[in-house]
């Protein structure tokens, strides 16, 4: 191997190591929050049937604080409380076979105390027309406040951000 090739190989290796280190050494809490959001999306996308759906509803509730508040913007009344939110989610159940949620562009800022975090993200919902199999995508930006209680991160407040006002 020539000297130049060796330098290129070493540089590439160093970049790879730096990328791996950055990924592994990111603040642990940030990774935990991302994991929670990913799990929330997975549970929403797989509502289950029969008794399993009840278990999923309980699981969905666990991602939110008891006094969670969801502000969907002008024209929609806020959803207050975990029970009301799970009820609203349950109302979607007959349609969820054709709905797939996702989150993108998650930004996390953990407060100094380490028990509260501000999260921004883009929530996407893909609707599939079961008759035509045509898919449409809706996207909405949200600002979340998450709190850590009993060692678990939960969503305390979700506010839809008006990208276009």
């Amino acid at each position: 191997m020539s000297r130049r090739a060796l330098i290129v190989a070493v540089a590439a290796g160093a970049i790879g190591l730096a990328a791996a280190a950055w990924y592994l050494l990111r603040p642990a809490e940030e990774r935990v929050i991302r994991g929670r959001l990913d799990s929330l999306v997975d549970d929403f996308n797989d509502p289950g049937e029969g008794l399993a759906s009840l278990a999923k509803a309980v699981a969905l509730a666990s991602y939110f604080t008891e006094d969670v508040r969801v502000d969907l913007g002008p024209g929609s009344p806020p959803i207050e409380g975990r029970e009301a939110l799970v009820g609203a989610a349950s109302a979607l159940q007959p349609r969820t076979a054709a709905l797939r949620a996702g989150v993108d562009d998650v930004g996390i800022a953990i407060d100094d105390g380490g028990t509260s975090a501000s999260v921004t993200l883009t929530a996407t919902v893909t609707r599939r027309n079961l008759a035509t199999l045509e898919e449409t995508l809706d996207a909405r930006e949200f600002a979340l406040t998450m709190t850590k209680r009993d060692g678990t991160w939960r969503i305390a407040h979700a506010k839809a951000v008006d990208t276009l006002r």
């Binding site: 883009t122 898919e135 449409t136 996207a139 276009l164 006002r165």
Partner: protein, 157 residues
């Protein structure tokens, strides 16, 4: 396999090509896939387009430009047409857009529903954006004022 007469030179060329492609398609000309019907008929759902991030380096968006704006980040974008520029007064009456009180001629709109939007004066940092498909219900169509900081670039083709 064929590496050319000088494999080392071929390798360098491939590396340069890859690097240039990464730079162009990550930071300059971003590929996007249109989703939804709000920009029909100009942009059909499922079609591939490119956003030029340098298009507004020398000047701001112009009326009629189709631009991409970000939501929480760069991976999901809205694509809309500029109908109002900073400082202008915008109003929609019966689906027709009025700029500073004058009717805006929009040849790219084929059918309109009678949208209503009360007059608003844009700040020095705001643009008014709407999709071309006005046959949709206004409540199903994201449109309105966007801050200049949200603009990612111009949709070029």
């Amino acid at each position: 396999m064929i590496y050319g007469r000088n494999p080392r030179r071929t390798a360098v060329r491939v590396l340069v090509l890859v690097a240039v492609s990464v730079i162009i398609f990550r930071w300059v000309l971003i590929p996007i896939r249109a989703e939804g019907i709000s920009m029909e008929p100009a942009y059909q759902s499922g079609t591939l387009h490119f956003v030029n991030r340098l298009a507004f380096a020398a000047h701001g968006p112009r009326r009629g430009d189709v631009i991409a704006i970000r939501l929480a980040g760069p991976h999901v974008l809205y694509v809309k047409r500029v109908v109002g520029l900073p400082g202008e007064r915008i109003e929609i009456i019966e689906g027709q857009v009025y700029v500073n009180g004058a009717l805006l001629v929009e040849s790219y709109v084929q059918r309109r529903k009678p949208w209503q939007y009360d007059e608003v004066t844009l700040t020095s940092r705001e643009y008014f954006l709407i999709g071309d498909n006005r046959a949709m219900l206004a409540k199903d169509h994201a449109f309105g004022r966007a801050d200049v900081s949200r603009i990612v670039g111009k949709v070029v083709f």
